[in-house]
């Protein structure tokens, strides 16, 4: 589904990412791990189109997407969350989900102004979908609350729900467990598993804490200082000497 080949990204004199390979198959959870500052988020920003990579290829469903603008990549079905939650803070919870569905709603202005039947039925569908996902992440009661006023864990779940209403093929999560307590982290892992099992979404996950992703990942890629270090099943990675030296050893 997603294939990243020899990706590199240079900021001025700094080579933040150098020769990273990645691939995500259908129906798979892949994690990218590495210590802080290893270049994980930069990889993410390149894949999601926020940065133009300075080298390498990114293929999504066989088509080259590197250097495409971010919103176009998102429209292809790769949607991401952010390390520091980015919600539309002054908008209500349900509005956050409606914004995400704009493409499924985007009929012309006139039909909206005149409230044609077609427009109404589309609007109803998107409201239903929003309600469904709010219930799924346990935020239905808070639908009309201001998103910025939610508790941190709720904001994280809302951000994931907001991605899911766009019906992505690949969901990219940037340190989704950051700032969550163990119980919340556990819930989150179950949610991620269920996204894969029940909704057939592939997941690409960034995490700096390796233990969090061992249980749910099908495969793991480790990067360190911008360079790929190891990759394979959780067990492979756990036993990889380089990884133990560079990463687990120090922790």
């Amino acid at each position: 589904m997603l294939e990243v080949q020899d990706l590199s990204m240079r900021f001025g004199g700094l080579l933040a990412v150098d020769g990273v390979h990645l691939d995500v198959q259908n129906h798979e959870i892949v994690s990218v791990i590495g210590p802080n500052g290893a270049g994980k988020t930069t990889v993410f920003n390149c894949v999601s189109g926020f940065y133009k990579p300075t080298g390498g290829k990114i293929l999504f469903e066989g088509k080259e997407v590197q250097g495409k603008p971010d919103y176009k990549i998102s429209r292809l079905g790769m949607v991401r969350t952010f390390q520091h939650v980015r919600l539309f803070g002054q908008m209500s919870v349900v509005e956050n989900l409606l914004v995400a569905q704009h493409r499924h709603l985007n009929t012309n202005l006139l039909s909206g102004l005149l409230k044609t039947p077609d427009y109404r039925s589309r609007e109803k569908r998107s409201l239903d979908k929003a309600a469904y996902w709010l219930e799924r992440v346990g935020l239905l009661e808070l639908a009309n609350r201001e998103a910025g006023n939610l508790a941190y864990g709720q904001q994280r779940r809302l951000e994931i729900a907001r991605c899911m209403v766009t019906e992505p093929k690949l969901l990219m999560l940037d340190e989704p467990a950051a700032g969550l307590n163990p119980a919340e982290t556990n819930d989150l892992n179950q949610l991620i598993m269920s996204l894969k099992e029940d909704y057939n979404v592939s997941v690409l996950l960034i995490e700096h804490d390796m233990s969090l992703v061992m249980d749910i990942s099908d495969r793991i890629t480790v990067i360190n200082q911008g360079r790929p270090l190891a990759s394979g099943t959780p067990d492979d990675v756990r036993q990889n000497d380089d990884v133990i030296k560079a990463y687990l050893g120090e922790a």
């Binding site: 900021f11 988020t41 952010f82």
Partner: protein, 307 residues
């Protein structure tokens, strides 16, 4: 020969105006460099400097003081004191309380301040333009007397020299003094400077005071050069100086100087070869083109979007 003289005349005029723009532009660029906001009221600070200088000159004339150096020095000191106090007060009242909020909020506050100051002077001193006495008269002339003569007035020379002195002092201040070094630290990383024990509030105040002082110097110089002031005196000049700052790369002090000179020359060339009416159009177009194609300006540093 004629054409060359005419061209040189435009060049001289442009460099004169341009160096004064550069003085004003420093205020924009330093404030932007430190707190990332456009100090929209800076043009008004410059206008108030010009008014204060005129008031001081008139006052001295009433008292019978006639020795030019004394008049200029006193006018300069008065203008600097009043403008820098104004700059300090504006930051305290309108900017500090909104620092760190959504980007539009400080900007709207600054626009409000600009409107307020314009009308403050308008109400106190009337809306008519008031003649500014030409204290520095005379000029050097080049070229045959019966044809076009290049004139380099003493006023223009004064503007060049004063700007040069101010810029040298500023550079020395920034590079050598304790406050200057702190200024650079704060513009690199405000939060970090705070952690290192630098009193960032004081540094920000100092930035406003320095910018306002230079604007006051420009107010005195351009007041004499143009020969009159009015409450709207600062608005267009402020926009021009901001353009100069953006042109050179906002946040960069040498950039502001370079931007001022380029802007001044391109304006006077427009006046000289097209029409004076369109010189503002040219500077605004220049601003728009720079922002579109090279938003970091000529000497600015690129910004990486943080995600």
């Amino acid at each position: 020969m004629q054409d060359l003289l005419y061209f040189s005349q435009q060049l001289v005029n442009g460099l004169t105006i341009g160096s004064a723009y550069a003085l004003i532009a420093i205020g924009y660029t330093m404030v932007y460099g430190i707190i990332g906001m456009i100090n929209f009221a800076h043009g008004e600070i410059y206008m108030i400097g010009a008014y204060t200088a005129l008031i001081a000159i008139t006052g001295l004339a009433t008292l019978g003081v006639a020795w030019l150096p004394v008049i200029l020095l006193v006018a300069l000191i008065c203008a600097v004191i009043v403008s820098s106090s104004m700059g300090w007060a504006v930051e305290r009242v309108a900017y500090r309380p909104v620092r760190g909020r959504h980007r539009l909020i400080p900007l709207i506050s600054a626009i409000g301040m600009s409107i307020f100051l314009q009308n403050y002077v308008h109400l106190a001193q009337g809306s008519r333009n008031i003649g500014f006495p030409a204290l520095i008269d005379g000029s050097f002339r080049f070229g045959a007397p019966e044809s076009f003569q290049l004139s380099l007035s003493y006023m223009q020379i004064t503007i060049f020299i004063t700007t040069l002195i101010c810029m040298t002092l500023l550079s020395l201040f920034i590079s050598r003094s304790r406050i200057g070094r702190a200024c650079r630290a704060v513009s690199q990383d405000l939060g970090m400077a705070n952690l290192l024990g630098i009193d960032t509030n004081r540094i920000i105040s100092a930035t406003f005071v320095i910018g306002a002082s230079l604007a006051a110097v420009a107010g005195l110089l351009l007041g004499m050069y143009y020969g009159s002031v009015d409450p709207l005196f600062g608005f267009i000049a402020g926009l021009k100086a901001f353009t100069a700052a953006v042109l050179g790369g906002i946040g960069s002090i040498p950039g502001a100087m370079l931007g001022g000179l380029i802007l001044g020359v391109s304006e006077s060339m427009t006046s000289g070869y097209l029409s004076g009416e369109y010189k503002d159009v040219v500077s605004f177009s220049l601003l728009i083109l720079i922002l579109l194609f090279k938003p970091t300006g000529l000497l600015g540093k690129p910004e990486v979007e943080k995600i």
